[in-house]
């Protein structure tokens, strides 16, 4: 028996609402404080001895798991693409948190635009690595302005002409006069596992991966 509990890292916000039913079906019930927004705790016990949950920002889930601070986690494939951590496995597409990562620009710009002539673009994004790689593959140098939110404001106020961001319904884009012009990748949430942990605590972690897989298959069916 390992003295260290297994730690499952979950992302705050949108995805968390979709993850909780999955956990419920697997039979993981966090302590009551987890549901209380007023709680200042960051680390929660569960009904399963030796399994803890932490709640961190979605970008940080991948970092916690890659460095072995958490053994398991749920992270969007957008985050995994951005960081490209070699110390992570993502064995399972949970099929939740579906959206895509796209390039968007003001509607007014679309008609006049000639992408084949670009050599350089300035893009506001939370995803500088994905953005640079996407444009570099098309022979375009992308100058990324890193923002952490309210990206849709950037083109309207003249910070840049384009943004690269997550799009689910497109409502926010439309409300800000932006149009999705290219889809970089489809995004969904993945179960992620620390590489060292999967090798050294193989039995425990394989069992958890299998349970997540069962529930995901049952949901899809």
């Amino acid at each position: 028996m390992d003295p260290r509990p297994l730690v499952l890292a979950l992302p705050k916000g949108r995805i968390l609402d979709e993850v909780m039913p999955v956990l419920a079906r697997i039979g993981i019930v966090p302590e009551p404080d987890f549901e209380r927004d007023s709680s200042r705790k960051l680390r929660f016990s569960t009904n399963i001895p030796g399994l803890e949950i932490i709640r961190v920002r979605s970008f940080d889930v991948a970092t916690f798991v890659a460095f072995g601070a958490a053994e398991l986690g749920v992270a969007g494939s957008d985050v995994l693409m951005e960081f490209n951590y070699s110390e992570l496995y993502s064995p399972l597409d949970l099929g939740i948190g579906r959206c895509h990562i796209s390039v968007a620009e003001p509607a007014a710009l679309v008609d006049a635009d000639a992408p084949q002539q670009w050599s350089h673009v300035r893009v506001a994004t939370k995803y500088p690595e994905i953005t640079k790689a996407y444009f570099a593959a098309r022979g375009v140098q992308a100058e990324c302005v890193k923002l952490n939110g309210a990206l849709e404001l950037a083109p309207t106020l003249g910070l840049c002409e384009r943004i690269v961001d997550l799009v689910s319904t497109g409502a926010t884009l439309r409300a800000n006069g932006l149009v999705e012009v290219a889809r970089i990748a489809d995004v969904s949430s993945r179960l992620i596992v620390n590489r060292t942990a999967l090798k050294t605590r193989s039995d425990e972690l394989t069992a958890w991966i299998d349970r997540f897989a069962e529930v995901t298959r049952a949901r899809a069916a």
Partner: protein, 399 residues
């Protein structure tokens, strides 16, 4: 609300030039007692290897680029610091890894020595970038190479030597992960998968995403799904692996993996053993069984190795097996030795007193100033006892 115990924030750092003590990224000073500890661990590992017939070689820190990178893949080349030799006007590289150097020695200067040839080495390497887990650019490698022996028993010997070295240092919860990196590329070839598809399948396999791998792999889908399932604790994974209907051409690879695993289960039963037949990252130039060493609750790999072709790509390349241990990853897993006891010898103490105290195991600190206040100096220099009046007197614990 204020908290009296929190000091006020310092003035914001200026954008002035950095402090003179700043070292370049990924480089650090090792201090007492850590530096001593690392040196002692390296010596202990080498002694164990020497006891099993591995003889020490010491290649230079810098070599001509062509010989340093001759039979290496480009990922090693990208990690190499280069500098121009002002004497020969040729490009040199600082070694990013020592295996290639030892293989070069074995297949050139020691080509006439009888095979199998057992060589050991220890030294620092320098890399352009650290990894995500180990940001150090300079670190110590310790390893052995068993040259001119392509057999399961050679693989097992090298793995066992490394494990015994590590457990000798006190590293607990060791596990070995076995792979045959050549398996998946061979399957790609046998099924003539187009290059673009290979890349997508490889990426999915590296993530251990069975669904994505199967969706991309076409005729290989079932086999790859089977191989992914045959991953994990050795006994169960071996059963799944042997039940797979693999093409004849890759059956020897599977057999080697199974044989190495079976031998390890028998020879080092206390060590955790896992199998991962599709692991390929970092094993690009391995031709047979490859392995990675881990320990519970230690971040990252302690070492890795496997079978490869030593020497020039064409001609007299020799099948070999080796292991490289990474001291920066290993040290945190080694219990620190208790600090040695220090004895203060006031200035003027006869030399023989120091000699016999050291023979008894003391560390002696010689006083340099006959006029000093002996007790205070001894305490300040962290000594536990003083030699006074012909006796070793314990100092009282400070309150």
């Amino acid at each position: 609300m204020s908290n009296a115990s929190v000091p006020p924030a310092p003035a914001p750092p200026s954008l002035a030039p950095s402090a003179p003590t700043l070292l370049p990224t990924g480089l650090r000073d090792a201090l007492p007692p850590e530096a001593e500890h690392q040196a002692a661990c390296v010596v202990a590992l080498l002694r164990g290897f020497a006891d099993e017939g591995y003889e020490r070689v010491e290649p230079p820190l810098v070599e001509f680029e062509e010989s340093l990178l001759a039979d290496a893949d480009s990922s090693v080349a990208r990690q190499t610091f280069r500098l121009m030799d002002p004497v020969s006007q040729r490009m040199m590289g600082v070694r990013p890894d020592m295996t290639i150097q030892v293989a070069r020695i074995a297949t050139s200067r020691l080509a006439h020595r009888p095979r199998p040839l057992r060589l050991a080495y220890a030294g620092d390497v320098l890399r352009v970038k650290g990894s995500q887990l180990q940001p150090q650019r300079q670190f110590t490698q310790v390893g052995v190479e068993l040259i001119g022996a392509a057999s399961v028993s050679a693989d097992v010997e090298v793995i066992r030597c490394a494990l015994e070295g590590l457990s000798g240092l006190g590293v607990a919860g060791l596990t070995v992960d076995l792979t045959v990196a050549a398996l998946v590329p061979n399957l790609f070839d046998l099924y003539a998968l187009p290059a673009g598809q290979r890349q997508a399948v490889r990426a999915a396999l590296d993530r251990k995403d069975a669904a994505a791998a199967a969706a991309q792999a076409g005729p290989l889908a079932d086999l790859l799904t089977g191989l992914l399932a045959a991953t994990g604790p050795a006994r169960a994974a071996l059963m799944l692996l042997t039940s797979l209907d693999l093409p004849d051409a890759v059956q020897p690879l599977r057999q080697d993996l199974a044989d190495v695993a079976t031998a390890l289960l028998q020879q080092v039963p206390q060590v955790g053993l896992t199998i991962d037949p599709i692991e390929g990252r970092g094993f690009e130039y391995h031709t047979g069984v490859g392995f990675t060493l881990f320990a519970r609750n230690v971040r990252g790999e302690l070492g890795r190795g496997g079978r490869y072709q030593a020497g020039p790509q064409q001609g007299q390349a020799e099948a070999s097996t080796g292991v490289t241990l990474y001291m920066d990853a290993i040290l945190p897993a080694v219990p620190a030795p208790p600090p040695r006891q220090r004895l203060y010898l006031p200035a003027g103490t006869p030399v023989e007193v120091g000699r016999s105290a050291r023979a008894e195991g003391w560390v002696t600190i010689a006083g340099l100033d006959p006029l000093e206040a002996v007790d205070e100096t001894a305490t300040r220099l962290n000594c536990r006892a003083i030699f006074r009046g012909g006796h070793i007197i314990e100092l009282k614990e400070r309150a």
